[in-house]
């Protein structure tokens, strides 16, 4: 069996000392290779005494604290460190690599509920040299933040907003998107339903603005992959308290009667961006039909049960760090912070200007447990990535489906493609 944890850490501590002690004896490596350096192992807390010549890279995590209605299921309650834990893991991963290159990464977090204050604070940090802004903010805030940072030496990663306009008419050249867009999510689902030939969709849309955007993307996917929306119904949902003693008795009556008399369909597609009511639909439909979209079968950037492509070790590292499952926001933030780390490794540089321009080249790619390299689209800064099409428990498939081909990259069958884009900021 493995040796006891205490013994292991003792060995580590001893090793760290030994490495430091022997640093002077290390022969200087040729310039094409990377000299071994004497940082303690990454398991130690961030180095307090930094060697001269260590490159410091600070990543700024900017979070807008938004009052959101709680999701229906107790299982879906967002943890307080949603996204932050993903950033911490990526910083750890960057540092494990960085100690071989004399690079040290650290995380700074800004949080505010007032967007104006959040933007002002971020600008102040950027003016002091922070070049990498990882944002979990509302769509309007993202655009304002991008404009406030225009012309400065900084790049923003959008990790949470799926809104298409941020990649299209409101795109900005200083913004990258690790979060998949609504159209990518809809296409990922739509492709699989096409493979299954579940072609006739009964669509149910919530009445929030975000629900309409999500529904637009689903309609676009339906057209793109040959589906037919046989009927659309708007679900007007009065948000009450999420909890009450009882409640299912009424829902059991409401949902079937809401769906009664619909045109013949293969599947019920629910567009509920915030998952406020979609989970009421599975097993309560009038007809015996599956549910997809925002409940039942859904597309997502990450799933806590995925162990494909070396994902096991990734999930394990996260759980050890955060004591919970990795959520899609954690994954999107991890990918953003790792992008900076990967650029720093490849360029052996901490210079924001250098790294930002390197991230715009076709050479830049990252491995992010998706079984293939991920790259950023050069027309709108969107991360190309396979999407998991999953139930709450397990992935069912991974899109793009092999049946859908593309002249450049199959990943571009998900979302708005280059010939269709309305983004002009990147064309310059």
């Amino acid at each position: 069996m493995a040796i006891a944890a205490s013994a292991r850490s003792a060995i580590r501590a001893a090793l760290a000392c030994a490495v430091v002690a022997s640093a002077a004896a290390v022969v200087t490596a040729p310039s094409t290779t990377l000299a071994q350096e004497a940082q303690p192992p990454a398991v130690a807390p961030a180095a307090t005494t930094r060697e001269p010549g260590t490159q410091q890279i600070t990543i700024l995590l900017v979070r807008e604290l938004v009052d959101r209605l709680p999701p229906l299921s107790l299982l879906d309650q967002p943890p307080k460190d949603d996204g932050i834990a993903g950033a911490r893991l990526a910083i750890d991963d960057n540092n494990t690599t960085g100690r071989f290159l004399k690079q040290s990464f650290s995380l700074d977090t800004l949080e505010a509920s007032d967007p104006a204050q959040l933007i002002a604070d971020t600008v102040a940090r950027v003016d002091k040299g922070a070049g990498f802004v990882v944002a979990d903010v509302a769509p309007d805030t993202l655009v304002k933040l991008a404009d406030a940072l225009a012309g400065k030496q900084a790049v923003i990663f959008n990790t949470s907003a799926a809104d298409e306009r941020l990649r299209e008419e409101d795109c900005r050249a200083n913004v990258k998107h690790t979060a998949p867009s609504y159209s990518m999510l809809a296409d990922g689902l739509g492709q699989y339903l096409a493979v299954k030939r579940w072609r006739n969709w009964l669509m149910v849309t919530g009445s929030n603005v975000d629900d309409k955007l999500w529904a637009d993307a689903l309609r676009r996917a339906a057209k793109r992959f040959g589906h037919k929306i046989v009927e659309e119904r708007e679900f007007k949902y009065e948000v009450g308290s999420r909890r009450s003693d009882g409640g299912y008795e009424q829902i059991q009556q409401q949902i079937p009667s809401f769906l009664q008399g619909a045109a013949a369909h293969d599947i019920v597609i629910v567009a509920d961006a915030a998952r406020l009511f979609a989970d009421y639909f599975p097993y309560r439909t009038w007809e015996a039909r599956p549910v997809a979209g925002s409940a039942g079968l859904f597309a997502t950037a990450w799933h806590p049960a995925v162990e494909l492509w070396g994902g096991t070790q990734f999930q394990n590292r996260f759980k050890r760090l955060a004591n919970r499952n990795m959520r899609p926001l954690d994954y999107n933030v991890w990918t953003a912070v790792r992008s900076v780390g990967e650029a720093a490794t490849r360029r052996r540089s901490a210079d924001a200007k250098d790294l930002i321009s390197y991230m715009l080249t076709p050479e830049f790619e990252i491995a992010a447990f998706k079984g293939r390299k991920l790259t950023y689209r050069d027309w709108n800064g969107q991360l190309r990535q396979p999407l998991l099409v999953a139930t709450d428990k397990l992935h069912v498939t991974v899109s793009p489906q092999p049946e859908f081909l593309h002249q450049f990259s199959e990943l571009d069958t998900l979302g708005v493609d280059k010939p269709e884009t309305r983004c002009r900021a990147y064309a310059k």
Binding site: L15, V26, L34, V43, T97, F100, Q313, E342, A367
Partner: protein
């Protein structure tokens, strides 16, 4: 067949000379089945499964002791290395391995064993005679590939998320150099003369050739297959013939292996095998190459001289590692 041969050979030394020269010496091929928790035992002449051995959870890396007495398996989810008698397949013992062992390699002297612990960013050095962990060497994120120079002085470990080949001095157990390679390096393999290390990068889609003495990049092999998208070409397993002429690289979901002229670094041929081919094993006479095809649950046998596949053999589910014993 193998048992019969073993019985007859010692008595007939003359016959053994004749047999050694014949093209079809019988070897035993061991294949780990990651999903089944078993090892398929194949006969290299019959080209069929002759035995199936139940082992611990999630068997991946597999090797033989340098004296060929022991068969060792990384049972990753049981966090140990299991040791079996290579001939009788009787369990011998478990070695302490550190968590989640994936691949390992013996020092040419037969001891110690160097193990990559994928889940803990460590290479564990284990004395296999006394079952003791001698040292844990911190490396990059998700260590996997393990190669050792023929003189035993240099150990190379690759870390999948750090994207480096770490050069470790086996006398001091210290990293003395790190070479950045393309994304997700999976396997490190020294050339038989020890002058080069070949490192496969699964996501990067390349094999980097590093000069051992200088750690300079001598070349980088890229792969191109008509009708296969570049993203699906994912190099993993690397093996070379002992004469240093040929190298073989398994290309994952491209479902092919590349045959490479090891002197010029040119791909001379792609051979279609099963699905998601990862690891490779050569017979001791370098005549046959066995490939583990994870998602089609089989191994493909390649005739090295003719450079073509001769048979696919069904094994267990998700075959992962392969090693060939000289008996």
């Amino acid at each position: 067949m193998t048992n019969k041969l073993r019985g007859v050979l010692p008595a007939l030394t003359l016959a053994s000379v004749v047999l050694a020269a014949s093209p079809a010496a019988a070897y035993t091929v061991f294949v780990t089945n990651e999903k089944d928790n078993t090892i398929s035992v194949l006969d290299s002449v019959k080209l069929e499964v002759v035995n199936t051995l139940k082992v611990g959870a999630r068997p991946r890396g597999i090797t033989l002791s340098r004296d060929n007495k022991w068969l060792l398996v990384c049972t990753s989810d049981d966090n140990r290395v299991e040791v079996y008698d290579a001939k009788t397949l009787a369990p011998v013992k478990h070695l302490p391995s550190g968590p989640d062992p994936e691949l390992f390699i013996f020092h040419p002297s037969g001891n110690p064993l160097y193990i990559a612990n994928e889940d803990d960013n460590l290479v564990t050095v284990v004395d296999v005679q006394n079952d003791k962990v001698l040292e844990e060497i911190p490396v990059g994120v998700e260590p996997e590939g393990m190669g050792i120079s023929p003189d035993g002085k240099i150990l190379v470990n690759t870390s999948e998320t750090t994207n480096m080949a770490h050069f470790i001095d086996t006398a001091t157990h210290k990293i003395f150099d790190n070479v950045l390679v393309d994304t997700r390096p999976r396997v490190a393999e020294f050339t038989p003369d020890g002058s080069q290390v070949w490192v496969s990068s699964e996501i990067g889609g390349t094999v980097t050739i590093i000069e051992t003495a200088t750690r300079k990049q001598l070349g980088k092999i890229k792969f191109e297959i008509q009708g296969i998208t570049p993203d699906a070409i994912q190099p993993v397993g690397v093996r070379m013939t002992q004469d240093g002429k040929w190298a073989f690289v398994a290309l994952g979901p491209a479902n092919r292996i590349a045959i490479i002229d090891a002197k010029t670094f040119q791909v001379v041929k792609y051979v279609l095998v099963g699905q998601r081919v990862w690891q490779l094993g050569l017979t001791p006479d370098d005549k046959l190459l066995f490939t583990t095809n994870g998602t089609s649950n089989d191994v493909t046998v390649i005739d090295v001289e003719k450079q073509r596949a001769v048979k696919s053999i069904k094994v267990g589910r998700y075959p992962w590692g392969v090693v060939v014993a000289p008996f």
